[in-house]
């Protein structure tokens, strides 16, 4: 097994302090870039590293950077630190454990793309992360890594730490930009206007995930060949019914079986029934897929996706109807209400699933669910609504007998948790 890269210093005390970070080689990549590399050469290194976005969409980072017009008078970097995909906690781990890596990666990104102003959109629930980043940014300014004429060059760069206020939808990149502009976090239409061309304040904007940016200092310091030889390193958030849940760093393409082993195995020596490979927006897979490499293409072939690489493990005792109902309920509550398929579809689906769970389901309900899933596919304004059909399809195709058992009265009806009784929910969260 290769040595840890992204998690190498995570967990060490005082890694969030700039003195320790410097002693452990911190800001060396920035020094090297400013001294030896042109911005184009930095972009080229990232391009050759084959780095793909770690937020969920998996878009090649170098290509994304190249979309940004070179001569634009104003352009921005926005780091998406609105980690909210259920089961995902690797960005929080990086922010709390190695905050300067993110800052160094951001400065390198700004240098590469020619950006002066950068923002971190940090979800409000990361109170500890906020305190750590606030301090780390202040330290970076005090050491001359941020601000005017960094390290005596012509390059200047500023970072603003921006808190969110509770809305899963703000993790969608265009909704995030709306939120950062001080509006409701509702997604923008794309195509034709992608953020790289028309983003924050209508200007070209690079939007990258926290983990993606944390990869940059390593790639710049040691080169793309080294990076690829390390796996390339990928963070998997492993949770659910495992003995030691946590962030596992493993080469991209590691199987769920290996990840579960590294997380101490399934709790109580039970067997795996199902697992989400990439957060609840991905299609959950079954035990027969435990040896599939968790990488972009192999998962896409199964109608699933790597997404945020959040592996949620469910053992043989898990009630899959309840799991899918809970997941659909989440999307219902977090729907921003902008488009009809998502706003209405998520409500219909959860009503039907609740009915089935309460023992009042009908066999026709299964066809109805299938038809709603079909009508939500490719019709929603943004990926939020599109996240519902994969779970529904897996339920109807791979765990149909569990639905039928509820409908036929072979399973004791259950009441779902009290979410609905909470009363009026904010539209975004």
């Amino acid at each position: 097994m290769s040595e840890r890269v992204l998690l190498r210093y995570v967990g060490l005390p005082d890694q969030d302090d700039i003195e320790r970070y410097l002693r452990r080689g911190g800001y060396d990549a920035l020094r090297r870039a400013l001294r030896e590399l042109t911005p184009e050469q930095v972009v080229d290194l990232v391009d050759r590293s084959q780095l793909r976005g770690r937020g969920g969409a998996g878009f090649p980072t170098g290509r994304k950077w190249k979309f940004v017009p070179k001569d634009a008078p104003a352009k921005y970097l926005v780091v998406n630190a609105d980690e909210g995909e259920p089961g995902t906690f690797k960005d929080r781990t990086l922010i709390e454990g190695d905050p300067h890596r993110l800052i160094e990666g951001m400065i390198l990104t700004c240098y590469a793309v020619g950006i002066r102003h950068a923002f971190i959109y940090l979800r409000r629930e990361f109170y500890l992360g906020y305190r750590k980043l606030e301090r780390a940014i202040a330290q970076a300014y005090a050491h001359g890594f941020l601000g005017e004429q960094i390290l005596g060059t012509d390059f200047s760069c500023d970072i603003v730490l921006h808190p969110g206020a509770g809305a899963y939808i703000a993790g969608e990149e265009t909704a995030l930009l709306e939120s950062l502009e001080g509006k409701r976090a509702m997604p923008r239409l794309k195509p034709p206007y992608f953020p790289a061309v028309m983003g924050l304040y209508g200007r070209p904007t690079v939007l990258n995930n926290v983990e993606t940016i944390c990869c940059i200092p390593w790639i710049v310091q040691y080169g793309p060949e080294w990076w690829l030889a390390q796996g390339p390193p990928q963070l998997y958030s492993v949770s659910g019914h495992v003995a030691r849940p946590g962030v596992v760093e493993a080469p991209l393409g590691t199987t769920a079986r290996e990840l579960i082993e590294r997380a101490g195995g399934v709790r109580g020596g039970r067997r795996v029934k199902a697992f989400y490979p990439g957060g609840t927006s991905s299609r959950p897979l079954t035990a027969e897929h435990l040896d599939v490499p968790l990488a972009h293409e192999p998962l896409a072939q199964l109608g699933s996706m790597l997404g945020s690489a959040a592996v949620i493990v469910m053992d043989e005792t898990t009630d899959m109807v309840k799991v899918i109902a809970r997941v659909c309920e989440f999307y219902r509550d977090e729907s921003c209400g902008k488009c009809t398929p998502c706003r209405e579809g998520t409500v219909w689906v959860t009503q039907i699933l609740d009915r089935i769970l309460q023992g009042r389901g009908r066999m026709e309900d299964l066809d109805l669910l299938e038809s709603i899933a079909k009508n939500m596919t490719g019709t929603c304004f943004c990926p939020l609504g599109e996240s519902v059909p994969p779970s529904l399809r897996a339920g109807l195709e791979d765990f149909r007998d569990e639905f039928v058992a509820y409908i036929r009265g072979a399973r004791t009806p259950v009441e779902m948790p009290v979410r609905i009784q909470e009363g009026v929910l904010a539209p975004g969260g």
Partner: protein, 157 residues
């Protein structure tokens, strides 16, 4: 209604952004830090400090679950019921929290100490089930641990 310090902070926050409206969410959070929630008068004040229409402020404030447009207790509990927490016994722990505080999600204890809210994934699934009380996160919750936490954050009472 806002203190001079809060007003100055909001103006300082405004100066960080090329467009004043970008400061809206951080400004509302700053107001909330002082008042516990964001009453209409505070929205009006934020609107005038940022030069943004008050309707816009209200529209934005009502969208986000962590901007409180109604009074809340001294500490807001954000209790996660999402999948990883659900798989790890969140429901049982939630029932215990409800019984201990004598309130349901969305309610505030009669003494005004706690408001219980259900949260979606808090991105701390390695310690599921988990919750945030005020600004502190607590994980690996059990009914016993909840008793200790609620006692502690009560200031030992």
């Amino acid at each position: 209604m806002l203190s001079e310090a809060a007003r100055q902070d909001i103006l300082r926050i405004r100066s960080r952004y090329p467009v004043a409206q970008s400061a809206l969410i951080p400004a509302l959070l700053r107001a909330q830090e002082e008042l516990g929630w964001v009453p209409p008068e505070a929205m009006a004040e934020v609107a005038s400090l940022l030069g943004v229409p008050v309707e816009t402020v209200a529209e934005v404030a009502s969208f986000y679950s962590l901007i409180f447009t109604e009074p809340v207790g001294e500490r807001v509990i954000q209790f996660c019921t999402n999948l990883s927490c659900m798989l790890n016994g969140a429901e049982e722990v939630l029932r215990h929290v409800e019984a201990r505080l004598g309130i349901r999600p969305g309610q505030t204890t009669p003494d005004g100490r706690y408001t219980l809210k259900l949260a979606e994934c808090l991105a701390a699934c390695e310690e599921a089930p988990c919750m945030i009380v005020g600004t502190e996160r607590y994980g690996n919750l059990t009914p016993q641990k909840v008793d200790r936490i609620l006692l502690d954050t009560n200031g030992g009472v």
